[in-house]
C-alpha cells in the first residue's frame, strides 16, 4: 500500500521521523507502559514472538513477561480476565490477532466490558483496550479477513477507533489506553508497513475528532482506516479531471464527529462514504444515514456508499480483489455524483 504522504497530514512541528504504523503502535504501547505501571499486554504470542505481525517485537524485553503475557488460544477467556483486571485497577491492552476472532469473545466484550459501568450505576469501570485487525487482500480467506468494527460501534458502552496513519494510530492508541472505557482499536493488517511522519515528542489525539486528510470543494469522500488511502488515490484521479475531492477521516467511528462530516457535506453537497466492512448494515450505513439526515437540505445528490462486497472474503486473488473498494471504484462513484459520467 502506498502512502500519498504529501496528502496525509502529519503533525505540525517539532522533531519528526517517518515511522511505520507498526512502529507507531509499538511506541504508543511502550510509552504508556513506562508512564503507567497498570498498563499490561495480554494475548496469543505477544511476548517473544511479538505477534505474527511483529507489531509488539521487543516489548517483552523491556517490560518482562509479567507485563507482556502470552496466553493460551482462549480469546473469550483472556478477554474475560482482562475485564476483571480492568475492573480492579489494572489497564490491560488485549491483542486479538485477527478481528475475525472477536467472534469468540463477544459476550465478554459486549455483555460484560461494555455494560459493567452502566449496570453498576457508574461504580465499576473497565479501562480496557482491545487491539485487533481488520482488512482483506492478504489472501487469508473468509475467516481471517473480516472488518467487523461496525458491530462494536452498535453497542453503547464501547468506543471504536479506526486509525489510518502512523500519526493517528499512535495518538489515538495512547488516548485509548488512558480512556476509562473499553475501546476496540482496529488496525488494518495491510497497513502495518505504511510509513508516515510522527513527532518524537509525546502527544495524544482526542477521540471523536475527524481529520480532513485532504481539503476539497466538489465532493466529500468520507473514509475509514486503510480506505483513507483508497479515497486519497481516488481524489488524485478526480483532480486530474478537475474534480476537487475532500477526504474526511472520522478516525473514531464512536464517538463520531458528526459535525465535521456534516460540515464537509454541506460544503460540497456530494458525499461518498467508504469503509472496508461489508456494505450491508455496516459502517457506511450509519455515516450515510447521518449525513443524509443532517445535511439533507444541502445535498445535491444522494449520499453514496462503497463498502466491501457483501460476500465472505474469498481466497483466490482474482476474486478477493473484487471485494475491496478501489480508488477507481470510488472515483467513478464520485464522478457520477458530480454528473460527470
Amino acid at each position: 500500500m502506498s502512502t500519498p504522504s504529501a496528502a496525509v497530514r502529519g503533525p505540525a512541528a517539532g522533531t519528526v521521523r517517518e515511522i511505520s504504523l507498526a512502529q507507531a503502535i509499538r511506541e504508543a504501547l511502550a510509552e504508556e507502559m513506562r508512564r503507567d505501571p497498570r498498563v499490561f499486554i495480554l494475548g496469543e504470542d505477544v511476548a517473544e514472538a511479538g505477534t505474527p505481525f511483529k507489531v509488539l517485537s521487543g516489548l517483552v524485553d523491556e517490560f518482562g513477561p509479567q507485563r507482556v503475557i502470552d496466553t493460551p488460544i482462549s480469546e473469550a477467556g483472556f478477554v474475560g480476565i482482562a475485564v476483571g483486571a480492568a475492573m480492579t485497577g489494572m489497564r490491560p491492552v488485549v491483542d486479538i490477532m485477527f478481528g475475525d476472532f472477536l467472534t469468540l469473545a463477544m459476550d465478554q466484550i459486549v455483555n460484560q466490558a461494555g455494560k459493567v459501568h452502566y449496570m453498576s450505576g457508574g461504580k465499576l469501570k473497565v479501562p480496557l483496550v482491545i487491539r485487533t485487525t481488520l482488512g482483506a487482500t492478504r489472501r487469508s480467506a473468509a475467516q481471517h479477513s473480516q472488518s467487523l468494527h461496525a458491530w462494536f460501534a452498535h453497542i453503547p458502552g464501547l468506543k471504536v477507533a479506526v486509525p489510518s496513519t502512523p500519526y493517528d494510530a499512535k495518538g489515538l492508541l495512547k488516548t485509548a489506553i488512558r480512556d476509562d472505557n473499553p475501546v476496540l482499536f482496529f488496525e488494518d493488517k495491510m497497513m502495518y508497513q505504511v510509513k508516515g511522519p510522527v513527532p518524537e515528542e509525546e502527544y495524544t489525539l482526542p477521540f471523536g475528532v475527524a481529520d480532513v486528510k485532504r481539503p476539497g470543494r466538489d465532493v466529500t469522500l468520507v473514509a475509514t482506516s486503510s480506505m483513507v488511502y483508497v479515497a486519497l488515490e481516488a481524489a488524485e484521479l478526480l483532480e486530474q479531471e478537475g474534480i476537487s475531492a475532500e477526504v474526511v477521516d472520522p478516525r473514531t467511528i464512536f464517538p463520531l464527529d458528526v459535525e465535521t462530516l456534516v460540515r464537509s457535506a454541506r460544503k460540497t453537497g456530494r458525499v461518498v462514504v467508504v469503509d472496508e466492512g461489508h456494505r450491508r448494515y455496516g459502517v457506511t450505513a450509519e455515516l450515510a444515514a447521518t449525513i443524509a439526515e443532517e445535511a439533507f437540505y444541502d445535498l445535491e445528490a444522494p449520499v453514496r456508499r462503497v463498502g466491501a462486497l457483501d460476500v465472505p472474503v474469498p481466497f483466490s486473488p482474482v476474486l478477493e480483489d473484487r471485494t475491496v473498494p478501489t480508488p477507481q471504484q470510488v472515483a467513478s462513484v464520485a464522478r457520477e455524483l458530480c454528473g460527470r459520467n
Binding site: I81, M87, Q108
Partner: protein, 337 residues
C-alpha cells in the same frame, strides 16, 4: 446420605476449631437474613410490587455465608443470577439491596442493574452476572490484578453447576492454573440447570474437570456451614500463599423455583425431594441443632437472631418501597466513565 451432625468441637474440621460461638451465631444470623430477605423478595413478586423476576437463594445460604466468612473485606467475589445471598454474605446492606430490586435510586446500581446485576465494590462484590458462567473470567482477572498489584487479595467466583456447560470456565481455569492465580471457584450444585437435572447436562465426574487443569478440587456439604467454611479456608489460604486456584463443589439445593414465577415444578422435580431437603438438610437448622447440642447457644439465641433478621428485612423493604426512583434523565448517565 450425609452423616449426622457433629456434636462437639473435636469433630469440627481443623480449620474451624478456633471459630467462637459468637462467630457461629453471627453466621447463623447472616443466613437468617438471607432467608428472610429472599422470602420478602418472593412476597414482593407475588404481590406484584417488584418489577421483573428474581432467583431465590433460599436453601443455599450456607455456601455464600461459609465462603465469605473465609474472606477479608478487600477480597473480591463475583456472583450469578441467583446472587442475593452472595451479596449479603459479602457485606451488602439489606435496604440498598431492596432499593436495587425495586429499581430505586438508592439501589447499589441506582436501579440500573436490578436483581441480576448487584455490584458493590465497597464490600468487594464485583457484580452478579446474568450470563451463566459469565464471570469466570472476571474473577480470574481480579485475581491476576491482585497478583500484579501485589495486594494479596483473593478472588472468589460463585457459579451454579449449570455454568459447567460453558467453555469459558475451562479456558479460564487453564490460565488460572498456569499462572497460579489466587482465585477460588465455588460451584454450587443445586441439582438443576433451570428445569433440567444436572445429570442430563453434565457428563463424567465434575471434580475431575478442575483437576484435569491441575486445580485441586474437593466436594463439600454445602448445607453445613462448618464444612463450607473449613473448605473455603483451605482454598483461600492456598490462594493467599500464592499456590494458585482451587475448586469447591458445594452440594446444595434451592427450595423454591428457578425464579419466583416457577411455581409448578412437578414436571421436573418431586415434592418429596423438596421436602426431604428442607426437613433433613436445612443449613440453618443444621447449624442450630449442632450449636444447641454442643452447648454453644440456646434456642433463645436463634430466635433472637431470626427476629433481628426479620426486623432488618422489614425495615429495609419498607425503606425501599418508599424510596424515590432515579430521575428519568439518569437513563443516559453512566454509559461511559
Amino acid at each position: 446420605m450425609h452423616p449426622p451432625v457433629a456434636v462437639n468441637r473435636a469433630e469440627l474440621p481443623e480449620e474451624v476449631q478456633d471459630v467462637s460461638a459468637a462467630d457461629w451465631l453471627r453466621m447463623y444470623r447472616r443466613m437468617a437474613t438471607i432467608r428472610a430477605f429472599e422470602e420478602q423478595v418472593n412476597e414482593l413478586y407475588l404481590s406484584r410490587r417488584m418489577p421483573g423476576l428474581a432467583h431465590l437463594y433460599i436453601g443455599q445460604e450456607a455456601v455464600a455465608v461459609g465462603v465469605c466468612e473465609a474472606l477479608r473485606p478487600e477480597d473480591t467475589i463475583t456472583s450469578t443470577h441467583r446472587g442475593h445471598g452472595h451479596c449479603l454474605a459479602k457485606g451488602a446492606r439489606v435496604d440498598r439491596m431492596f432499593c436495587e430490586l425495586l429499581g430505586k435510586a438508592e439501589g447499589y446500581c441506582r436501579g440500573k442493574g436490578g436483581s441480576m446485576h448487584i455490584a458493590d465494590p465497597d464490600s468487594g462484590n464485583l457484580g452478579a452476572n446474568a450470563i451463566v458462567g459469565g464471570s469466570a473470567g472476571i474473577a480470574a482477572g481480579a485475581a491476576l490484578s491482585a497478583k500484579l498489584r501485589g495486594t494479596n487479595q483473593v478472588s472468589v467466583c460463585f457459579f451454579g453447576e449449570g455454568a459447567l456447560g460453558q467453555g469459558l470456565l475451562y479456558e479460564v481455569m487453564n490460565m488460572a492454573s498456569l499462572w497460579k492465580l489466587p482465585v477460588v471457584y465455588v460451584c454450587e450444585n443445586n441439582l438443576y440447570n433451570e428445569y433440567t437435572h444436572y445429570r442430563e447436562t453434565t457428563a463424567g465426574d465434575i471434580l475431575a474437570r478442575p483437576r484435569a487443569f491441575g486445580i485441586p478440587a474437593e466436594e463439600v456439604d454445602g448445607q453445613d456451614v462448618r464444612q463450607v467454611l473449613a473448605a473455603a479456608r483451605r482454598a483461600v489460604a492456598r490462594a493467599r500463599r500464592g499456590e494458585g486456584p482451587s475448586f469447591l463443589l458445594c452440594n446444595t439445593y434451592r427450595y423454591f423455583g428457578h425464579h419466583v414465577g416457577d411455581v409448578d415444578r412437578s414436571y421436573y422435580r418431586s415434592r418429596e425431594e423438596e421436602e426431604a431437603w428442607k426437613a433433613q438438610r436445612d443449613p440453618l437448622r443444621l447449624l442450630r441443632d449442632w450449636m444447641i447440642a454442643a452447648g454453644l447457644a440456646g434456642p433463645e439465641d436463634f430466635e433472637a437472631a431470626e427476629r433481628a433478621a426479620r426486623e432488618e428485612v422489614a425495615q429495609g423493604v419498607a425503606y425501599a418501597l418508599q424510596a424515590p426512583y432515579p430521575d428519568p434523565s439518569e437513563v443516559t448517565q453512566h454509559v461511559y466513565a
